[in-house]
Symmetry: C2
Subunit: 478 residues, 2 copies
């Protein structure tokens, strides 16, 4: 927003990756810090990325028959305590309101950390017959979790997310929904964010408390750490039973519905920053970039230059593209550095010589490659260039992920390889006991997800020696 901090150096990734990250967040004006620790201001350039993610996901959710709702931001503590197994995971992390209208509240209000409890309460009133099912609801909101260590977009005391909550007649439908939504999240990575994910089921330790199964998409950051980017939960009938949600089934008997929930958060913005960024700053995928093309006039005082820039801008805008002409009084070199830092996917330069030749030079942020096009062809050239940029960004990230998946056949090997960063595949029987042991020895490494969910012939769990086991991905994680 303010210009005073621009064009200052960003800490190099190799010097201090964590510092590089916060430098980029602040200097690219994605966010700044609020007045309460862990609460951030989502600035226009950062929030616009979230709006593009919302638009994409809303279309997908609606295609899956989910409808948006908005439920209260507060949960009475008496209701919050109803689903015991669930609350243990959240109670110490909550923000609690105790005064309303100047008076002490008899039943303190928890600021929502997640809304399973409220959706369950709503479902109880809204569902009575199998005709009311399936019921697929989604909510866009912010949630509060009182975190000790916070980082912009990655872990905050307040963050923006969506939470889907659905009820189904049968377990098979619920399971299918949890997997369908995982596929939606995975496609969001591939088509929108240019991020490849590992998909899989969470282990017993890592799954959502009270769920039958949790599914996850996991991204790999350049520092070798995994980032959980979204989860879907097959919640079974536990919440329904705790809240007394019942419906009259086809056989005229009272039944408990099968529940799912699924969510992604502004953490996806953190993934975009880390996966694609470089020492010059942000590199944004075209589909979410608030500015997709920046037009930099060279010698903007020369005759016809600005006019032509605005003519191109108008053409591209009429095609629905997000374009900006930078006619500030800075030098072209300053502008190049500035828009590079802000990660604009394509820079278009236009000077007197270009005007004479009827061409423009376009530079791809992802790799600095330059491409020329005639001004007449600009309406075809830009969309296809943006598509190319998206592909190149995805392939670059995919190559990094693929080259950072190793294998281990013993705990020692796992530990050594985890220390190098990246994912390590290892046979794993799936038991809590073995997972405990692995956690104990790996110094921060955890099972990120199960890679092969049906017993693989010949594999041996290195902890208990069980044969023909599952295979899991392990990594150190954010």
């Amino acid at each position: 927003m303010a210009n005073q901090n621009k064009n200052e150096a960003i800490t190099s990734r190799s010097v201090d990756f964590a510092k590089w990250y916060t430098d980029v967040c602040r200097k690219a004006e994605l966010m700044d810090y609020g007045s309460v620790k862990g609460f951030i201001n989502y600035l226009p350039y950062g929030y616009a990325i979230w709006e593009e993610i919302q638009n994409y996901l809303n279309r997908q959710f609606k295609a899956h028959e989910a409808q948006n709702v908005y439920l209260p931001m507060v949960i009475p503590s008496s209701l919050f305590n109803k689903e015991k197994e669930h609350i243990e995971g959240f109670a110490p992390e909550t923000l609690v309101a105790t005064y309303g209208g100047g008076e002490k509240l008899a039943d303190p209000l928890i600021i929502r950390p997640t809304s399973e409890v409220l959706f369950s309460d709503l479902f109880k009133k809204a569902v009575s017959s199998y005709r009311d099912l399936p019921m697929l609801l989604n909510q866009w909101c912010s949630v509060v979790r009182w975190e000790k260590t916070t980082r912009p977009f990655l872990r905050g005391s307040e963050f923006l997310w969506q939470e889907g909550h659905c009820l189904f007649e049968t377990q098979a439908q619920a399971e299918k929904n949890a997997l369908d939504m995982l596929a939606v999240y995975d496609a969001c990575g591939k088509d929108l964010l240019a991020i490849p994910f590992l998909k899989g089921r969470k282990t017993e330790h890592e799954k959502f408390a009270g769920a039958n199964a949790t599914y996850t998409i996991e991204a790999l950051m350049p520092d070798g750490k995994a980032l959980q980017a979204g989860t879907t939960h097959d919640l079974g009938q536990g919440f329904a039973e705790a809240f007394g949600i019942r419906f009259l089934g086809r056989g005229n008997t009272l039944q408990s519905p099968h529940q799912t929930s699924w969510g992604v958060s502004t953490r996806l913005i953190g993934a975009v920053i880390m996966v694609h960024g470089d020492d010059n700053g942000l590199v944004l995928p075209p589909a979410v970039a608030p500015i997709q093309v920046v037009i930099v006039p060279i010698r903007q005082d020369a005759e016809g230059i600005l006019e032509k820039c605005h003519e191109i801008e108008a053409k591209l805008k009429s095609m629905g593209l997000r374009v900006k002409v930078d006619e500030s009084d800075h030098t072209p070199g300053w502008k190049f550095a500035q828009w590079e830092m802000k990660g604009v996917p394509v820079r278009l330069e236009l000077g007197p010589r270009d005007l004479a030749n009827n061409t423009v030079v376009m530079t791809k942020r992802v790799n600095g490659e330059k491409v020329s096009a005639s001004i007449e062809e600009i309406e075809e050239a830009i969309p296809s260039l943006l598509q190319t940029v998206h592909e190149e960004m995805y392939q670059k990230a995919k190559a990094y992920l693929d080259s950072h998946i190793d294998e281990a056949h013993s705990l020692e090997e796992l530990n050594t390889k985890l220390d190098k960063g990246g994912y390590v595949k290892m046979a794993f029987c799936g038991s809590i006991e073995c997972e405990d042991k692995i956690k104990e020895i790996t110094n921060g490494g955890t099972a990120r997800c199960i890679a092969v969910d049906t017993p693989e012939e010949g594999s041996v769990c290195p902890v208990c020696g069980k044969k023909n086991t599952l295979v899991a991905y392990f990594a150190k994680a954010y």
Copy 2:
């Protein structure tokens, strides 16, 4: 959502207007009550109306160069107390969090009732030069105000709204922005909600504490009471000075910027319900109706009926219209009543005789009029019918408003006419003393807005006798 409450009678408006209102809110499944008093669940059918309002306003805001952001939902009480004049209006209405992560907070956190304080804090960091101005920001969020008496959409302890906050170099720019945004809200009424508003400036008593001027759009409800539907504020330099927001001006001197804020809330949904609804339930303007056309098959088991219904549905959907075929196992009569209650603007019936004649019968919810069209022409007939429905709804509401504006020339006359309901125009000098006296005698009537803002020749303030005064609209209000 659940079907069990459908097709039950709604209280007649003439019997109990307040009961009619809550009946419609609940039976049309716009909302239901949460577990904390004053906090409601916005159900899919109600929330979808809000999403259409958001889409419309986001386009308008962006056309006025405003950018969306998201700021924290909590305000430290120490910061909240900074702008003294402002806090007096809100302190008794706040929800206050005092525990975080299991520990007592040193500085309790106010759940935001409005975000002037947070935006001012952000501006302080973001603005340093006239080059940073104008800065136009907007936020979509929920706010909490601890209300004693609450009604769905009209007054709640939590409600959804947007709040625009802007900074300008000059007072003239700020004033213009406050009036421009008032025009946006007014157009939202005319073009989207089919609601005519009275526009004007608030009196000293009714304006936002600390503002130079507050502008308002006021709607008239069928019970004769006014509803304030949106406001814009020219805040002057007060907040900027309290928060130390300064910028280096063109003359190289430090200056305080001029600030505005503007907002509308889910109260607009309440206005839609009351202005258009009737004893059969909701009547929704086509532009915000979640379902614009419902197709009811007559003898849906007869050959070709359902196929043709779905063919029409697909055609209309491909044009971007929101359409539903009701193929539930209820009778056509039940369906007619059901979709009437839910306020669907156009009902399309199709039975074997229609199929044979290649025609459909369409019924307009606003007045029950029936129109026929050939099935081939349906793609032209429906959009033009929806436009007609919008016009008819607007004209009906406008005729009601126009016929309920009376005039008074003395306090006695004002009082008698206010008791009959509707607006009463009266000369008014604008002084706080006279406004106090009017308030005292009118038993709940208040100045809604100033109708004529430049002294009108010949008018006399009936309280103090001053000549050539302003003219104000008075009414009892929600």
